[in-house]
């Protein structure tokens, strides 16, 4: 719902679930504290919006480090060819 619908109120978010308002509020609080949703308060209505960046970031760490380590190992291979035999005796 948050993924497709932009900002939604706590009541709208509760509608598809057979759960009490305090339960949904608790879940939203967890998501908010984890940085996965943001909250905007207008009067008595709390609007929630999905924060995509942190989840995207969590997926991106693998891509970032895969390139990082592949490049680093290539550099190591080139480097050891230049290492003098004496350097390995130290």
């Amino acid at each position: 719902m948050l993924a497709t619908g932009g900002a939604l109120s706590a009541n709208e978010l509760r509608a598809p679930f057979d759960v009490a308002q305090p339960t949904i509020s608790k879940h939203l609080k967890v998501l908010e504290q984890a940085g996965l949703v943001s909250r905007r308060v207008e009067g008595r209505t709390h609007w929630f919006r999905l924060e995509v960046a942190p989840m995207k970031e969590a997926e991106d760490w693998i891509a970032r480090h895969e390139r990082f380590w592949q490049g680093t190992l290539k550099r190591l291979e080139d480097f050891v060819q230049t290492m003098e035999p004496s350097e390995t005796d130290a």
Partner: protein
């Protein structure tokens, strides 16, 4: 997505004895000459105490002027077979303060050494203590929201 993510694994077989490769990792003066992902990125070892429990702090210099810093400590050192170290990018960084662990394993191969790098993200204290229900519950409910959204638009 869950708290126990599979590690990233990168391998490369290099035609050199593992003692020589291990040394390239263990000596500060050698490490700074190659331990970057490309030739236009340089690295400076601000701290490099290569003993079990010893700390390291590496500052990379990127062509665009950014200087990402990674720090951590050596958790296991078993010459010439294994190095395990914590790996934490320092602020400012998109991955800042996320505890990670990297292990370098040196396996003998015919006339060569296979280096296996395992890189994993560790459960962070922040995520574990964020709520009594924990991170898993947060993700469960997120999944349910996503599922509900799917049903609704179908």
């Amino acid at each position: 997505m869950s708290e126990t993510e599979r590690p990233l694994v990168v391998r490369r077989t290099i035609p050199a004895p593992r003692e020589k490769l291990f040394e390239a990792f263990s000596r500060r003066d050698l490490l700074v000459r190659w331990f970057t992902p490309s030739a236009d990125i340089s690295v400076e070892a601000e701290t490099f105490d290569f003993v079990p429990g010893g700390e390291f702090r590496l500052r990379y210099s990127m062509p665009d002027g950014r200087q990402p810093v990674v720090a951590g400590s050596f958790e296991r050192i078993e010459p010439p077979a294994l190095i395990v170290q914590s790996w934490i990018w320092q602020p400012p960084d998109p991955l800042e303060n996320i505890p990670m662990r990297v292990s370098f394993q040196f396996d003998e191969a015919p006339g060569a050494t296979e280096i296996v790098i395992r890189h994993e993200k560790l459960p962070s204290d922040a995520a574990c203590t964020i709520h009594e229900d924990g991170w898993e519950r947060a993700l469960d409910s997120l999944e349910r929201f996503a599922g509900a959204a799917h049903v609704r638009i179908a």
